[in-house]
């Protein structure tokens, strides 16, 4: 069994103002998805969601800018850890991520361990 990080990437500029009912739905779809992975005994850690507002980036030369580090308009807003037989299974597990219903993407990265430096 290998471990993978699922990195949630999304972009800003949304005019999406969800209603409380929609928020409830989003919340349920996330816990259902994560609960489903946990039910398969594939969850290593639920990791953390990361805020956007109030974040800063320090660059070389102690240059401090507001907001998360972004290349385009995309930023990371969370990470979690799972285990899977291989990358294909990890991809299957990631496919249910509610992030994919919107503009987000999920990046799947094998964790570097002492016997896997790839």
């Amino acid at each position: 069994m290998k471990e993978f990080a699922l990195i949630f990437r999304t972009s800003t500029d949304n005019d999406f103002q969800p209603t409380p009912a929609q928020m409830q739905e989003v919340l349920a779809s996330w816990t259902n998805w994560m609960g489903g992975i946990a039910a398969k005994d594939r969850l290593v850690s639920s990791g953390s969601r990361m805020g956007i507002s109030g974040s800063k980036t320090v660059s070389p030369g102690n240059v401090i800018t507001d907001g998360p580090y972004t290349e385009i308009k995309e930023f990371i807003n969370g990470v979690m850890y799972i285990r899977a037989e291989d990358i294909d299974e990890a991809v299957e597990l990631a496919k249910g991520c509610p992030m994919l219903q919107g503009r987000g993407k999920v990046e799947i990265r094998p964790l570097v361990t002492s016997d896997n430096f790839s």
Binding site: M34, G35, A38, A39, L43
Partner: protein, 404 residues
């Protein structure tokens, strides 16, 4: 009469004696107490039951113990050398059978039995025998196994307690939290053995539940162990136990949750559970017992179907994210069915491939496929039947088969 006293006092007396002598002499302590009950049976049969039978038993057990200390040669030498609370006056030692010492001894013994070196299964049997005074027969019957199996299990566990030199003592302050987790797991299993046992003996099953609640209650009454997760476990037990009467029909059959007569739920236990749950909350600790107690809360309170099952599903998700367990995974799939319907739940349940050797995995899929694809339903029920261990389990499954 003697039977009731045995159930109630055997464990207390063994525990007190054993705490005094040390875990190595657990068999001796059990012998002394058994002898005491034997002489009670003989004496009371001839002379009638004394006005205070408990005091009689304690007095005789105390004398037997002191005699054993003075005259049991081998025992004497061993005990004199390394008495747990060894001191000069050890030969003249007293046997303290006060309520306070009984409680303290039971708690210390609980920690000794739930030592990490003892397998969980053996911990449960030991607790049932030594702390709760159930007979080998009763334990074998409730755990659906043979007497010789239970005897072997107890023998090995006692041997381990001796060789590991486990002390009958409260763990040190820094250890309490981790040691407590093993204790709570044992009490949780003990409760479940009673609650989910397929044994036809209704009274015995209830006694298992009540005994595990009594021991958990002792932990809650002891300040160093009165932690939120202890109250959460107590709340869970109360919510579940409230349905003990409603879930068994007069003829002894299991009544499924959906078919239960709500007026037979024990409202007093539910209220007590709610109070424990309040005591478990708001101190920043959220254990799996909190999640399970919250799930049990929803089961114990009438509510709209949608609201109830959405909350139960959410809680099972959170429970699994906190800690995986096969039963939680299966129960989550069932809750998924109640919220999103059979087709979606089938996809969730079939994702649980790691459980394909589990009886409940197949009985759940059998249930989900019933009405969707009866052929598949029958296949899963057949697999479940092959995995079922007891006639009682098979009887429940056979009723579920969709008709051809």
């Amino acid at each position: 009469m003697i039977q009731e006293l045995y159930r109630k006092e055997y464990g207390r007396m063994v525990t007190v004696l054993c705490s005094r002598f040390g875990i190595a002499y657990i068999d001796e302590a059990e012998d002394i107490v058994s002898d005491t009950f034997l002489s009670a049976a003989e004496t009371w049969g001839l002379n009638g039951v004394p006005s205070n039978p408990v005091a009689w038993l304690y007095a005789v057990a105390r004398n037997n113990a002191l005699n054993y200390l003075k005259h049991g040669k081998v025992f004497h030498q061993r005990v004199k050398k390394d008495l747990v609370h060894g001191s000069e006056r050890s030969v003249e030692m007293d046997i303290d059978l006060s309520d306070q010492n009984i409680t303290d001894s039971q708690l210390r013994m609980l920690f000794a039995i739930c030592h990490p070196s003892i397998p969980a299964e053996a911990q449960v049997s030991l607790a049932l025998r030594v702390l709760c005074g159930f007979t080998i027969d009763e334990i074998a019957q409730a755990l659906l196994t043979s007497k010789s199996n239970i005897n072997k299990r107890l023998f090995r566990a006692k041997d381990k307690l001796r060789t590991e030199g486990v002390e009958i003592a409260f763990p040190h302050e820094g250890e309490i939290s981790t040691r407590l987790d093993t204790v709570l797991m044992c009490l949780y299993l003990l409760f479940n053995e009673g609650y989910f046992s397929a044994s036809p003996d209704k009274v015995l099953r209830k006694d298992f539940c009540l005994e595990s609640m009594r021991l958990t209650w002792l932990l809650a009454g002891h300040p160093p162990t009165a932690l939120p997760r202890v109250y959460a476990l107590l709340a869970l037990m109360c919510f579940q136990a409230s349905r003990l009467d409603a879930r068994v029909s007069d003829s002894g059959d299991l009544v499924l949750y959906e078919d239960q007569d709500i007026s037979r739920w024990d409202q007093e236990l539910i209220d007590r559970g709610s109070r424990f749950f309040v005591q478990a909350s708001g101190r920043g600790e959220v254990s799996k017992y909190h999640m399970e107690a919250a799930i049990a809360w929803w089961h114990a309170h009438p509510a709209g179907e949608q609201e109830k099952w959405e909350n139960i599903l959410r809680l099972y998700n959170q429970l699994l994210i906190l800690e995986y367990s096969p039963m939680a995974a299966l129960n989550r799939a069932y809750a998924f069915f109640r919220v999103y319907g059979k087709e979606k739940a089938i996809a969730e349940a079939e994702g649980l491939q790691q459980l394909s050797g589990n009886l409940f995995y197949h009985s759940l899929l059998g249930e989900l496929y019933t009405g969707v694809d009866d052929n598949k339903a029958r296949q899963h029920f057949t697999k479940a039947l092959n995995l079922a261990g007891s006639p009682a389990e098979r009887a429940v499954l056979e009723k579920k088969f969709p008709s051809q």
